[in-house]
């Protein structure tokens, strides 16, 4: 994973801009990234975040396979041939209450290995979180920036469109989407999930960026750029958008948990991954039902999710600082 390239597409846009127009000076663009990378590595919290996210990601990707070859069960394996095993065992506990390495996170109600389920859930939650955040960044930032910069009637219409999308009954929208595009294949279901998540995740981002742009567009540096005849799109994406980066990255890191939770809600309506597969959100939602009896059903998915979100957040902060144009100038 290369989060430093993915998290800030608007920077990529800006950079592409630099390359195309000042084609002789590719070196400058590269050093910009190298600079940012160096600053990021200096930030210990950000490095910590990066390491944790990397570990969780790698574990999620290879974990289920490793467990299958080591212990012989998959995240959806229910031991139906022995009913005594189909119950929720505490962490590190075997069928007779003895210590066992087989289930370090215990098992769920159906006797399935929690570790395998949490790791497999990570695949889905991380994937969903990151892709949807990217969608939210790309659409939300451009939309908000254009609306804010152009202003006037265009801004008015664009923001009313956002209002309309905001107001629609999400549950019904999702139910209709689901009934109109029924897909049996997991890939199709995932695509639908992204449509459902993407359709809402960018709205708040657009509003926030627009607000920022409104206050930035009359500042001296923009006026100066305009006076020297820089084109509109270039002003927006080269000069204004990088200056909104602070709130944008903060909000983007806030979007990821929100999206993971929305995903859990959508799975209630039948969107996204189907049982017996689960995501962190749906594991936590199931676990919370049994919090009083089998706390490990909530603790492990919950802590894994919280730790990852923590780390993503530190990473986001680090990135913000590393990429901040104002910090760069000092």
């Amino acid at each position: 994973m290369e989060p430093e390239n993915k998290i800030s597409p608007e920077m990529a846009v800006a950079e592409a801009d630099v390359r195309s127009e000042e084609s002789g000076e590719v070196v400058r663009g590269t050093s910009l990234w190298r600079d940012a990378w160096r600053r990021l590595l200096k930030n210990k919290l950000a490095v910590f975040g990066l390491v944790v996210v990397a570990i969780v990601t790698i574990a999620s990707i290879i974990g289920p396979t490793v467990i299958k070859s080591a212990f012989g069960f998959t995240p959806d394996y229910i031991p139906t041939n022995d009913v005594r095993l189909i119950r929720s065992f505490p962490p590190f506990t075997g069928p007779n209450g003895e210590f066992s390495w087989a289930h370090p996170m215990g098992t769920d109600n159906a006797g399935r290995d929690q570790l395998a389920r949490v790791l497999q859930g990570g695949q889905i939650s991380l994937f969903v979180g990151i892709i949807s955040t990217l969608v939210s960044l790309i659409i939300g930032v451009s939309y908000g920036a254009i609306a804010g910069y152009v202003g006037g009637r265009v801004d008015n219409v664009m923001m009313r469109v956002v209002d309309v999308l905001y107001s629609l009954p999400y549950v019904i929208v999702v139910i209709v989407l689901l009934s109109m595009f029924r897909s049996q294949t997991p890939r199709g279901q995932l695509t639908l999930l992204f449509i459902a998540l993407g359709s809402v995740s960018w709205l708040t981002m657009a509003r926030i960026v627009r607000g920022q742009v409104l206050s930035l567009k009359n500042q001296e540096f923009v006026l100066a750029a305009r006076a020297t005849g820089v084109s509109g799109p270039r002003i927006v994406f080269r000069h204004i958008v990088p200056n909104t980066l602070g709130p944008v990255i903060v909000y983007a890191t806030l979007t990821i948990p929100q999206i993971m939770l929305t995903e859990a809600f959508l799975s209630f309506l039948g969107f996204g991954v189907q049982a017996p597969l689960a995501s962190w959100g749906s594991l936590a939602a199931d676990g919370v039902q049994n919090i009083a009896i089998f706390p490990w059903q909530l603790i492990f998915p919950g802590v894994t999710m919280a730790l990852t979100l923590f780390s993503l957040n530190f990473l986001g902060d680090g990135l913000r600082d590393a990429l901040d144009p104002q910090m760069r100038t000092t």
């Binding site: 959806d76 139906t80 017996p276 049994n290 009083a292 089998f294 603790i299």
Partner: protein
Amino acid sequence: MSRINWKQLSALVLLAAMACTTLSCAVASSNEVYFGKTTPPARNILRYVTGEEPESLDPAISNGQPESRIYMALYDGLVEYDPKTLAPIPALASHWRANDDSSEFTFYLRRDGRWSNGAPIDANDFVYSFRRALSKQLASRNAYMAYLMKYAQAYNEGAVFVRDPSNGKFLLAKDFDEHLPPDPLAGSPVDAAKGEYQTTAEESQEPADSAFHQAMHTPLRLTLPGDEKARTKLLNADAKIKEAVTGKELVPVKGEDIGVEAIDKYTLRISLTLPAPFFVGMLAHQVFRIVPRQVVEKYGNQWTQPAHIVTCGPFKVKTWQAYHTLVVERDPMYWDAATVKLDEIHFYPMSDNPTIMNQYKVGEVDAVLNHTVPNAWLDVVRTKKDYMDGAEAAIEFIIMNTTKPPLNDVRVRKAFNMAIDKEAWATWRKIVKPLTAFTPSGIFHEYPQPKGDAFNPDEARRLLGEAGYPVTKNSDGSYSCPKFPANQIEYIYNTQESTKNMVEWMQAQWKQNLGITVPLRNMDWKTFLTLRAKLDYVGFARGSWGADYMDPFTFLSLFYTGGENGSGWSDPKYISLLDEANRTLDQKKRYELLAQAEAFMLQAQPIIPIHTASVNWVKKPYVKGMYPNAASLYPWKFVYIERDQAKWDVGTPSLAGGY
């Protein structure tokens, strides 16, 4: 910098873990006798969680169980459910008589029945309420429950009679339909009907004969659809009827034509189309409970507002805050007010099970509705002495779409049935009983319930092979069935935690025993119902049904109508067996015929039976007179708060003996 954070992080994680552990200990391992607090409320008030927010306080409107229980507090009918057995016990009818073949009933009303506004209740209230419940304008979802009454269905459907203007005679159904079951009442001449009831000394008079009664005993009239289009279509399809109808006048079926008659102020006679020994048992259903004519006519659909509502049950509405509390208080006007011991019942509409259980644990509610204890909690809650356990007249099954391959092959359907170890499932689910038939086990005691195919994975694999999908054994002992198009079928279900557990379990069984992984697909309830009803799925769908009344027919009737059951399966032989059974007076013989029909259906295997459900709820030990009966319906007038600890319920109260 990072050191501080590590410390904080680990401290937080530790704190969270500690909190969870101590708390879970506090909740789970408490070795109390009961689950949570057991301090009786200061006043004689029962606080009961009844489930979803009631749709309406009008007993004719809703068909939901949460509402049924509220209606039982507010409205009385001819009979009430026995709190233990659910058999009919006298309510506004003090006693009743049936004719020889149970196709006509006479009810003798008590003289002291009163509405909550003091007005007396008489037989006309029943006539009005029944006609209203069946009217097309009200469009009650429960109307079909009353279809046994003569011409009730025709009236409800807005049908028409056909009359010959020359002689005023109506065309008769039997002249056009040779498959029609014999008309029981027409077979017994009115003269005989006169003497069909044995009167006792306490009855002031013998039920009088009347023109209406005579009409009820004439052969069944022909009815045609009232809707022009539907009628034309039917007439064009049947030349004989078309010819007979030409030149005749069409007379709409009116409420007055329904087979219910107030012979006098306190005597009510109900005439049926079929003999139905179980009919009296159905009369406790909400659709047969009465509503106040004046109030309904004055306020229209606003009559159930607390300011207007007039009721006739043991309790009357005090306050109603939607989605919060419905408070009903003891009605001094109620004929049996002396029996009513509670001053008030507070109905709480709640639907989140952990929330309900928490509310119960801290002692904020005294009893909760059925199926509220989450499966994982059973280990703890089931050991407590306030856990209610008992057989339920409800079943869980899997419906298969028999119209689309590969499940249009009965061998494949049978294979999937035999590949599920229902015993193991029931052991895991802890409170249910494994089921191989389509009627619940242990509910209908005289009923010779047939047995479906037992768990037999070898036979299942053989059958699949025979159907063209050979199952091969892998080197590690697992199976695979490469030819089976598993990715083209699905198992659809509505989103619900307990259901999810179940479908995952079934999926695992099939995978283990057949080597087939059926994809699961959840959806919201209404979408699920639509897909299933329209057969817009390939493979399996979740099915469950709870009894409407205490007779096996309430289950078997799910497959009585053609194709509308979600499986697409329908068979004339099945239908004729059921018809024959319902014409049979001898209860034992009737049950045998019903069992034959059931066995026939199980052979065709449009469904895979899973289990007979169990009731699964809790009530505080001081709540007495409330029994875990098979339909989770409680006649509230018998419920009371017991303050003497020595008399508290310890464990599930027995359903044997009187109440």
